[in-house]
Symmetry: C2
Subunit: 531 residues, 2 copies
Amino acid sequence: MTIEITGQNIIAGQVVANGAGTFQAVNPATSKTTSYTFHEATFKSVDVAATAAAEAFDVLRNTSAEQRAIFLETIAAEIEALGDTLLEAANEETALGLPRLTGERGRTTGQLRAFATLLREGSFVDAIIDTAQLDRQPTPRSDIRRMSFPIGVVAIFTPNNFPFAFGVLGGDTASALAAGCPVIVKGHPSHPASNELFAIAINRAIAKTGFPAGTFSLLQGSGIDIGQYLVKQAVLRAVAFTGSLKGGRAIFDTAAYRPHPIPVFAEMGSINPVALLPKAILQGGDSLADNLVNSVTLGSGQFCTNPGLIFLLDNADSNAFIETVSEKMQAKQAGTLLNSGVKQYLEANVSTTMGKDSVQIKTGGSIVEDARICYENTVMQTSAQAFIDDADLQREHFGPVTLFVLCQSLDEMKAAFQTLEGNLTATIHAADDELKTATKLFDVLREKAGRLLLNGFPTGVEVVQSMVHGGPYPATTASGTSSVGMTAIRRFLRPIAFQNMPDSMLPEAIQNANPLNIWRIVDGEYTKDSL
Amino acid sequence: MTIEITGQNIIAGQVVANGAGTFQAVNPATSKTTSYTFHEATFKSVDVAATAAAEAFDVLRNTSAEQRAIFLETIAAEIEALGDTLLEAANEETALGLPRLTGERGRTTGQLRAFATLLREGSFVDAIIDTAQLDRQPTPRSDIRRMSFPIGVVAIFTPNNFPFAFGVLGGDTASALAAGCPVIVKGHPSHPASNELFAIAINRAIAKTGFPAGTFSLLQGSGIDIGQYLVKQAVLRAVAFTGSLKGGRAIFDTAAYRPHPIPVFAEMGSINPVALLPKAILQGGDSLADNLVNSVTLGSGQFCTNPGLIFLLDNADSNAFIETVSEKMQAKQAGTLLNSGVKQYLEANVSTTMGKDSVQIKTGGSIVEDARICYENTVMQTSAQAFIDDADLQREHFGPVTLFVLCQSLDEMKAAFQTLEGNLTATIHAADDELKTATKLFDVLREKAGRLLLNGFPTGVEVVQSMVHGGPYPATTASGTSSVGMTAIRRFLRPIAFQNMPDSMLPEAIQNANPLNIWRIVDGEYTKDSL
């Protein structure tokens, strides 16, 4: 099967390229532009996408969960049908390597199918029924039933670091489509060919399942103006964003200015503190150092759950451990970064941190001069007191970089934790007889993160119902939500109550007979029984 | 028992009045100031409240659901212990009448106890467990468990129209305390004595249960500057607001500008469209007219669910029905309004609407010259075409006022519905053989409201799990939430995942044995079983 990459914007199933601007992606492994030229989306194409999405919503909002499950499964199959074309195009644009991309493709199709399973199980609609009390005094109580419906058209901004799993058909799109919301995706300009291939896959699925063309549009573009224009569209009911704090906050602020404000679910990165308690360091030894290095350098350190801060007590064992980690970081070949912007931003941030009197450089700290876009694996060190005194030491270094923070006592470690901004994750490594200490420290960290890990590493986010990939600001703008896992669908649902309606007027999920066989709360009790 | 109203601000259990400014409430039945003078809260008192609340949160966030249930029940008992003092003080300030206030007190204590029941049942924490898969390839899957925790300090702004049920210890406060969040309440200046009595009640409950003093603070004030200063406090993690669109939007905008943005759950009113289908009008006759008049004039029309728009087909029956309603509205004594601001705002809004060429006045339309603060029961009429052409006909008239909209066809009625802004409710009255028509119209209204009613009236909001008191903007700023009913607690909760932790480090709700005996989702299945 030959798949032609057109470089055009695909708006509601139609190729639209009515502007003069073009851009090209760069292969990070060679620093050379890739073979395709892409058209910048225009304001007009945003308008077309918005109108088509609004029309599509009028159909999608009345699709059954089963219809949407089939749609998601068809999308997954169409992604697989892209075969090596997708992997090779993505590898040329990202240099992430075929093994990583193959694994990430599996996660991407897996999460589409996991949402299909959730839809078929059906209880996600959060059905709650309170039956009538006709003899209540002084007035009778009506029958009231609620369930959730899709919120409307969703705009999605994809990041540079997960071209598949958080890309055009990644977690945000999967959860919005599962909810029944049309999506308009602003694809990341670092990997536009991958973006277009995903658009081809979903448009094939749309054609096969008879979903409306406006269910999906892809906007390609290298600047920020198209995204800002998109967020102002009146038809939008929510925005999902994954990327930098600066970008996320700009989107959030634009949405807040709207005449009709809408929620912005922005995941904006994190520095993911890790504490290594003394006995855990002793017990973990070389293996712990290896695992830490692997986590810090995974994906060239460009993961939102990258462990960027390592807290430990200031003693001989800790200092030896830091030396070991630094040696291993130095010995490991520096990975390829996603694009030159990431490299420049990383260099600027590491330089700022290294420039502080309170910070020592242990290894790295420089750009690697190479055809690859590349930065040295970097380890820095500071004191907890400096960390407490200088909030700027919580600066994110988006790359293979970590900062050790030496604490004079567990109390000082706790004090340092209390100054932490919001993060996606917080981790403690503890030996068995350090678990009580860990519990006390977790009590502080609970207010600082969305996920707490014991004796593990935060990279590697499972796509399961229990996952929380979120956290207090600035990790996200909506700490009550998760962008990974099945509960991501809740961001795009809205409850509606039906009062005093006969069964014939009710959606199946809240009809007396419970024809969907879902879990419901009826008069305060969880049950699958019919009424 | 003598209860002294001090007129002082009660911040974290301490009387604080360090400013010079004072204000007095007005008895709307006499237009005379009431007997107490109240101190305006100062910026300093806000600072004290914020610091105390942050300290209290460190205790509250580790209280058990049972402890909080006892706390809520103690608050309810202390409200009852205020006895007639509360009812009389509130009646002097609001002129709502003792029967209404007695009923509203019952709702207020009832909802505190309903949240206690929810806490004891325990499943509100939304526990989800995915067990480890140690033999998964290529990497094992860790055990991951999530549940919800309180979000942090909450600021609450109370409205003029429900001095009890949405007052200082009303639904927002009850749901925030149930979640485990300290609250700082900005009480409405129309009823400051009621505000202070509630502060006395909760501080007695705090003393009896040993909860920290900073769990609750009351700010009294007649201006907007204290509220704006409150919303900027760094310790806040959410704001709940009930009031006008103008006030709610101002709070929302201030919160959006914060360095650390927080959710604002603002319920900002609604015009609550009602459609009366032809046979329903014929069958309903005089009784339907009576019920409509009663709903429009309930609480002098000052309910957020007041039916302010009535759609019907333009025929002889409809016109006769409008005449009947107009006569009944004219014959009914005009109710007393809450304050002179409401009266002035109502007069300005009705004047603007009446001034349009497309609008006819059927009855009312003037201030009642009386010692009471009072406005005539008012009925206006327009055409669906005018309604479609002029978005300003969706202006809220906060008082005993409704606007009939005559439609030339059901298609035109549907077209008018499509132009509706967000509302809390939408209602259709239909005879049995009009239910299919109603279903089609509800399909449009579903995108416009949080609650859909058949053959009823939207006033009278039940405090049950299934209630949705929310809706698309501008009804609220957070259409995914409800401010009435048990799900209101979800606004103040945040999920946290625990990865790879032994039972000893987990909260009870997600321990293997399920010691709280709550419903949980374990590996995708709803169950109360232990692991």
